[in-house]
């Protein structure tokens, strides 16, 4: 083996019911390597540091540019995207494990479909009349665009949900990502026609009142989305909606 190597410890689990085991890997160091390129290297030579043959690691990945949101995992204890986790900036041995708040599929792969279900629940879309030519869209000033664009950058990685102490089976909390999307669509000149539906969807159990303001979400977000501001704004709107609905009887 070459003079300079990189040490990995990767948590393996063959299926949801199988026992979890840690495997160690020692790879040749290369400039610019990241956690994904390291796992590609393991796939091309699936042998542990002890020289024992093993299987390539199962994990989600796609764009490798931190824009598709696929490769979220826990690296040295921190929820983050594996493609942008540069080996030279990580303490070794690099410990890699799956996100812990989602049903495990295999190895580092988990099932995060709950986020997409939540987005459906809050109607995270602009209800356009149709796709035929209806002329230009509503006028939007640069200031509004600059407020909405960061919210629209959410890559659905679920890091904010993983680190949230309130995101668990007991609360059923929707999590910060979904709330930020409610903010985005309620801001939109046409999207806001569904504002009341969205706020009501966040008013009950598992809704916005579950948030404990730990602020972990905004720290963990790889896209620096102003999640806590969005939660504060939407929280106020949900309260307003509750009062309105109560007054209406």
């Amino acid at each position: 083996m070459a003079s300079k190597t990189v040490q990995f410890e990767i948590k393996r689990q063959a299926s949801p019911d199988a026992p979890a085991v840690w495997e160690r890997f020692e790879l040749e160091w290369r400039p610019g390597m990241n956690v994904i390129s390291s796992m590609m290297e393991i796939a091309a030579n699936p042998v542990t540091a002890e020289g024992k043959p093993t299987t390539p690691i199962t994990y989600d990945s796609n764009c490798l540019e931190e824009i598709c949101g696929s490769c979220a995992m826990r690296i040295n204890g921190r929820a983050r995207m594996a493609c942008s986790a540069l080996v030279d900036k990580l303490e070794q041995p690099i410990r890699v494990e799956p996100l812990s708040k989602f049903p495990l599929v295999r190895d580092l792969q988990v099932d995060r479909s709950v986020l997409f279900e939540n987005l459906m629940r809050v109607k995270a879309w602009v209800p356009v009349d149709g796709t035929y030519d209806l002329g230009a869209g509503p006028r939007v000033y640069p200031q509004q665009q600059e407020a909405n664009y960061p919210l629209s950058n959410c890559i659905s990685c679920t890091c904010c949900m993983e680190v949230c102490p309130q995101f668990n089976e007991a609360t059923g909390f929707v999590g910060a990502a979904t709330i930020a999307q409610v903010r985005l669509f309620n801001n939109h000149p046409t999207g806001k026609v569904l504002k009341e539906d969205r706020l009501r969807a966040l008013a009950g159990d598992g809704g916005i009142q579950e948030c404990g303001y730990a602020q972990n979400c905004v720290e963990a977000c790889p896209k620096q989305i102003p999640l806590t501001n969005a939660i504060a704004d939407v929280g106020r709107d949900v309260l307003g909606q509750k009062i309105k609905d109560w007054l209406r009887g």
């Binding site: 610019g32 995270a124 006028r139 950058n153």
Partner: protein
Amino acid sequence: MATPRIIVVGGGLAGLAAVIKIAEAGGTVDLFSIVPVKRSHSVCAQGGINAAKNLKGEGDTTAQHFDDTIYGGDFLANQTPVKGMCESAPAIIDLLDRMGVPFNRTPEGLLDFRRFGGTLYHRTAFAGATTGQQLLYALDEQVRRYESEGRVKKYEGWEFLSAVIDAKGVARGITALDLRSMELRSFAASAVILATGGIGAIFGKSTNSVVCTGSAQSAVFQQGVYYANGEFIQVHPTSIPGEDKLRLMSESARGEGGRVWVPRTQGDNRLAKQIPDSERFYFLEEWYPKYGNLVPRDVATRAIHKVVYELGLGLDRQPMVYLDLTHLDRETLDRKLGGILEIYEKFVGVDPHVEPMKIFPGMHYTMGGLWVDFNQMTNIPGIFACGECEYQYHGANRLGANSLVSCIFGGFQAGPNAMKYAKSAPAVEGDGGAAAELTRQSGINAELIKSEGTENPFRLWRELGTAMTEHATVIRQNKGLKQADDKILELLDRYKKINLSDRSQWANTSFAFTRQLKNMLELSRTITLGAILRDESRGAHYKPEFPERNDAQFLKTSKASFTGCVQGPRIEYEDVDTQFIKPRPRRYDAVK
């Protein structure tokens, strides 16, 4: 009659555009995607989407967009569909705007436009430098809305394996593999639309995402669909070389004023900012004064190759040149290019506001693809294709920011045309061939899972990528292309001795990858053999042995058909539709 049920394979822009049109017209859709559709490769498109909206008072027209696209593609594209696309583009932008895409705005609240390669107009609408992501999300949201209404059923985490084709040669559905349970199933449909993207993985490292293997295209190619213009592969001039992939550095960096340069003197090791302007070689601006840094991608890529390999002026004698934004205002850069600057800083660890970026060309886009007619249908009735996986809109070279519009336009054609076809298609007899196709697929799976050879599939893949990148990208020599083709044959032979180190029947990614690899190998020969036979230079296909375009012989679409023999695909030629714009010499050192 019953509501037509249509299968769409692929959930990027083209696939989702088709889904929306079908659902809107009252059809129901089964949507298949390897990844959750919101994670499709379309998110990687950065710079923008073209439409001649003429909001900058420049007199831009859809006719001008049409001419730029045909000229940029070196006259290889059929003109009728391209004309249709350019004429529809302004309404597509309006629709996306109505769907809530956060496009950048002018102070008056109108859409802002920037410049891109191969045109002299501000024609590119953009949402920062993450336009593809924003467009995909807008369509994803609309599809989720139809999903909530029960018009769309998603099969995310399923991989398309093959089309189900009946005894009369008509497509009746697909077979697909559940990537978790490894269950193989067939699905019936009145029509199938493939929207499965590019084939970057054939080149090992590219700007494409992991799922862009071309496996689905190859599967139907092996079932009888023509593969057209396979030899036309776009190498993007500006990417960041990496261990796992080549990360795109958008053309919009140059659209906003970025300049490409190297030190004039070989071995000038000073820091970039210590090199005065007079000692910098802005080679694109010197060689192409009219278009400057915004020449089309094939032209810029060859210029960078020349500077590095012929003139020996690569930075630190490495294959790299500067892409410099440091002279531009920081606030404007962050507002218009924030996304890509962040990518550079995160992956390279250097701040591009302060130091010029170091970039090099990388495989980027597949101009060729499944042959389709003007209704987006392949030669197998019932199989349609749209988006990057088909060949129709870009000829020999794609212009920047035309891909997003071609994906959406293609999907908007394929969806309604598939509906129309489905309503008049002859009734299916029996199971339409589903049982026979399932038997064939389970045979392939059973053989693969018990393979006990010595060859690691990931290493075979690397060897394929190295050979293809070396011989079938920027500069092509017949000798080298032949070497690459021989290499593919060697790899196909070694594939028979594959060793699947993972034999489990649960979320076995090696198994799925190894099936893709076989398809990559089969499809890659359309590139090598297509390139060998095309003895001319046109757009992205450049042969120093034949440096001129040869319209008399090669103003033709190449159509490859699968033979299953060692000789490889059979290639025939079809005339190009040039009824609107007469072919003329293509040069960017003067006004066209």
